[in-house]
Amino acid sequence: MAKTLPPFQSFLDEHRAPVLSFLRSMVGPADADDCFQETFIAAMRAYEQLDGRYPRAWVMTIARRKAIDHHRARKRRPEPRAELPEQPTHDRIDSGGDPELWTAVAALAPKQRAAVAMRFAADMSYADVAEALACSQEAARRSVHEGLKRLRETAPISDRSDHD
């Protein structure tokens, strides 16, 4: 009969940080929270459809759709936020984000971009990335690889990028 779902609170606790990180890399820190809310509201509505084997992939599929909706909505706006004051930058300080490198990620082909964001902002396994992008693990690896090659061409790594 019906499978037993974990309490939604456990599901939320388990996935909230990677989902928010993924969305920040997709729509920026200022709009990520709205997309986060929409993602988990949609997940809660559709909770019975949760794929028990790949919960991370399932919620990321929704998150990616919300990010795409967000981009479309922005495009439809004639002058996107032109008259609004500059977005508050409160989140940028502790995000550790490098505008240049991750801006270059934003310019990748959509699937490469999502794959790179899932892999490096949300730290997902290739099995989960594949599931979230509805492709094979091979194809997921290829998307990441192609993305990285493209980034090498467009955003050469600066010296400050990897001191550790």
Partner: protein, 209 residues
């Protein structure tokens, strides 16, 4: 990926990812709970309440208080049980448990003798247990009845043993005061939260010295 240049890009992406810090994710999740509540999606809301006998877990549904778990039990297990038996759309949400918290605070502070809360009885199994526990809300503060009396009031010839089982299955102790049932002869009898808790409650209400 063996290409060293690609590995350094991988490293740079990881290092510089616009990751959400844990407190930010926690705040976003707390806002989500309120949004979900406003959208009418939360079917079980829970929170913990600190009392003189320890930390309790309380859970409400739109119908009322459905569960109170006494200290000492695994709350995680209780939440999984609620997800399975009531609904998995279950979130931690202080504002849906505020009434319960306030009344428990008042009860333990000595300023409240009766609880005035809507109750959701759906976790009570069986007619007999339902009747017996329903009657418990009419045993006044500071008094106690025996297992035999509790069974008789619920209209069952099955006697005190069945009453003990029904009381032991009470999903809403303290509020449904099953601690007010004691053994004939004066022993206080068993309690889901342990005899110490039962003794504390009966002393608090003045039935025991």
């Amino acid at each position: 990926m063996t290409d060293p240049e690609l590995s350094s890009i991988e490293r740079a992406l990881r290092d510089q990812a616009p990751r959400a810090a844990e407190p930010e994710a926690e705040r976003a999740a707390a806002r989500l709970a309120e949004r979900a509540d406003e959208a009418g999606l939360v079917e079980v809301a829970y929170d913990t309440v600190d009392t003189p006998v320890g930390r309790m877990l309380v859970a409400t549904t739109p119908r009322g208080l459905v569960r109170l778990e006494l200290p000492g039990q695994s709350f995680e297990q209780v939440l999984e049980d609620l997800a399975a038996r009531v609904s998995p759309r279950l979130l931690e949400l202080a504002r849906r448990t505020d009434d319960v918290r306030r009344q428990l605070d008042e009860y333990f502070a000595g300023s409240r003798r009766e609880f005035d809360l809507p109750l959701d009885w759906r976790l009570v199994r069986g007619e007999f247990a339902r009747r017996l526990l329903g009657n418990m809300t009419r045993v006044p503060y500071g008094e106690a009845i025996t297992y035999t009396q509790a069974a008789a009031q619920a209209g069952s010839p099955r006697g005190s043993r069945a009453a003990g089982n029904a009381l032991g299955s009470n999903p809403i102790p303290v509020i449904v005061p099953c601690h007010r049932v004691v053994r004939t002869g004066g022993a206080i009898g068993g309690y889901g939260g342990g005899p110490e808790t039962k003794r504390f409650l009966l002393r608090h209400e003045g039935w025991l010295d």
